[in-house]
Symmetry: C3
Subunit: 344 residues, 3 copies
């Protein structure tokens, strides 16, 4: 009997089932430094303890996407080892900053199952929670994935498709206790634009491009203990190429978006997202954003900006997204919808 | 007169001589994070402060192989700068976990010398010890290396070949004070297999593969302050290829072995090892293990498993090791024999 | 109106103007570990807390060049985004070691302006200061850069060319309070040569070579939050090559110079420097040094050595620098003039 993990297949999931994912992880200054080496990350809140203290935090938290990647990575052996495709995200919320020294683990609950009509695969919906060392939830999100069946003759489960919000309500955004932009230093943050300088529908070309190397995306993906073979093993795909972890593109695009959105400091919600096309080493990544909404929050001075973040391997100044057929343009890699906090 | 280090030649060594190696090194969270970025390391004891505390430690130690690489790297300028080949390891023991903030240095004693019959080189045996900032030995091992003579006419020393144990006795394995698996969480560790689930002779294909990049093996090798030219300088070898540090393959194979040996948590002894064939960037590394022995220790609940860890650039599921001629198969890169601690 | 940073053009600078650069940065053990992974850095003062404590410091500071790169990187969006060339450095001094946990920011004062005769660009001279979280200056240097004009018809400013010292006076070198080489351990430092073993005019071939990879120079350059497109975007230059950040070559050459200058521990002044030729991935970097001066300081036992550090992609043992025409030889990448502290 094999001792290695074959991963779960579609028929191994039950609605209501809770999976406690393995390998808790303590994250600290080392992960922060690597994040700055891997991505051109410059948001001041995640770069300077003093800047973060001026915003009411105990010091600079780890990047919100470090929290996401670590929590996500732990789910891979249980959720997506036999996945055909990562289909979507919804109802993602960051509930508590992750500080150096925190230990994260992940749990997922199966909230929906729907076999595909071909009978060889099905869609699994999970709500994943990241917890810290004292059991506080730091992050939660829903993800749905198309997973192979082990045995095509296994009976289809009762289909359950969970109702999912298309956008996290502003009232549900969680702002850390004591968080404030009252002493915000726009000069140190890098730009003067505050929430009132943006308008819904505005699009921003983030201008800069980064050509991706094999070594870099593998370092990143391993750092989050994401074990999916396709990212590391050049012999796995017929074309001899290693598929880049979609989260690498999320972090690259978010970091590039500093140029024009330097004050969109803290990511607080993930409304949705699609990895539109695969990305490979040698591609040059650029990004553009569209302002989808602007809102006040319960905390005076702290606004929320809802952004569409698009990563492309083409020209970001063209703002391409979908073709006439409604499908993503071939150069589009990522279409992400999130809320961030910004001084009003 | 040159100010640079020409390295020692065979005739520069004397049996009994103690060499205090240069450049002590403080290791901390940064080295840990890089280790996780460079290798798919997932053993929970080295990933989570909480998991380690539940095993009776003060927090998560640095990976046992970080300790090995740092201690080993310091010996290179004194032992292997003029080496032709790294011939073997024996009697390796980890005596004390290395915690973030510890400072390591290395000392080696020459314990054997034997000139080769060709008169141009000889074998040097050293026992190397890694010490922390308070002088405690954290690690020791014997290594023997074939080293060039500066001058072929230099007289051969009296040959001394030290007696070396083929395996570290279980009674000599050192388990940290207070170490316990009584509160071990198999679910968080990632697998349910305990010592009693393994049998001597069992072989495990670790399934996953990693294709190696130049940038990654150089980052790793530099991190351990290993200065051997052949790893960094593409103009050094006639074929323009950089030889990958054998320790990079050890760490890669050990990390891959998580899949099937997730509970072989702590490496406590190195019985022997051979770098069977050279490895170069572009090779895809896979690993398989064979259970060589199983034993109880003095600490109730803490078992020891003796493993052969084989890294290959071929198909790990074939369990290839040696050809009919007794030589290592051409795809085999590493044949390592070690003891690890596992819940009984 | 665009929200992205177009950078400053020549006509945007005024003599006397002070620019407070964005994005303060807390640096810690993670940056130290990455520095050791990116460069073969072995100077013991920056490797071991215990070695540094024996020299009178509170622990091992971050490498002097980490401080330089972080302070420099912050100036890029304000000073060199529209630069044609980085022309020179002068009057650089390290005033205070940077310890893990310190937060750095940068300020530059424009101290000179001179339009070029072609009317399309000009030279901007700035004195940049790096400050820590309590406002102490940790580093200062003068840099001059050739910057494009936005509008060729903009009037030329009154030319101001600041007087700059060709070398920092020994009396102006700052030695940290309590710093001492009285308990210096030459064996642990790696070499026996003290200041009195070097003579002015002596040249040292540092022997070792490192072949540079795209992933490595990009990791390094991003780590310092240097945003210059030309380092990251393979589509930016017509030849499809990414130009390597000159600071990467400085750090590589300095690290290589350990072999022969292991006791040139602390960099205290940058007298001047030129990035003689561009460097690209695939180049193999070697280094040689020339002793330009030797001096005592106010602190007994602490000497100062003035060094020319030359990086080359050719043969370092040829000590090539300039051709008969007075121009840098085509293989020369860097010509740096600095003071370091060494036991007398």
């Amino acid at each position: 009997m094999t001792k290695t993990n074959p991963g779960r297949f579609f028929e191994d999931y039950r609605v209501g089932q809770v999976i406690r994912h393995a390998v808790p992880r303590t994250v600290a200054e080392g992960e922060r430094a690597l994040y700055h080496a891997l991505y051109p990350a410059r948001h001041a809140l995640y770069s300077s303890d003093e800047f973060a203290a001026a915003c009411g935090l105990d010091g600079s938290p780890l990047d919100d996407l470090i929290a996401f990647h670590v929590v996500f990575g732990k789910t891979v052996p249980d959720i997506s080892l036999n996945a055909i495709a990562n289909l979507g995200y919804a109802e993602g919320r960051w509930l508590r900053p992750v500080m150096p020294g925190d230990t994260l683990r992940s749990e997922s609950q199966v909230i929906g199952l729907k076999e595909n009509s071909n009978g060889t695969s099905g869609v699994v919906y999970v709500r994943t929670r990241g917890l810290n060392q004292v059991g506080e939830v730091v992050l939660e999100y829903v993800r749905w994935v198309m997973v192979r069946k082990r045995d095509a003759s296994a009976p289809a489960p009762e289909p359950v498709v969970p109702p999912l919000a298309s956008v996290v309500d502003v009232a549900d955004l969680v702002i850390p206790d004591g968080f404030s932009f009252d002493d915000y230093d726009f000069e140190l943050a890098g730009e003067n634009h505050r929430l009132s300088d943006y308008r819904v529908g505005e699009r921003i070309d983030h201008v800069d491009g980064v050509t991706i190397e094999e070594a870099e995306h593998m370092l990143a993906t391993r750092l989050w203990q994401n074990t999916a073979k396709v990212h590391f093993d050049a012999t796995f795909r017929e074309d001899g190429r290693r598929l880049i972890y979609g989260g690498h593109i999320i972090s690259m695009a978010r970091a590039l978006s500093f140029n024009g959105l330097a004050n969109a400091q803290m990511i607080v919600a993930l409304n949705g997202g699609a990895h539109a096309n695969p990305c490979f080493a040698g591609d040059t990544i650029r990004a553009w954003s569209e302002v989808l909404d602007i809102a006040e929050t319960d905390v005076p001075g702290v606004g929320a900006i809802r952004l569409r973040l698009v990563a492309t391997k083409g020209d970001s100044s063209a703002f391409a997204l979908r073709g006439a057929d409604g499908k993503y343009a071939p150069d589009v890699l990522l279409d992400l919808d999130y809320w961030a906090l910004m001084p009003v």
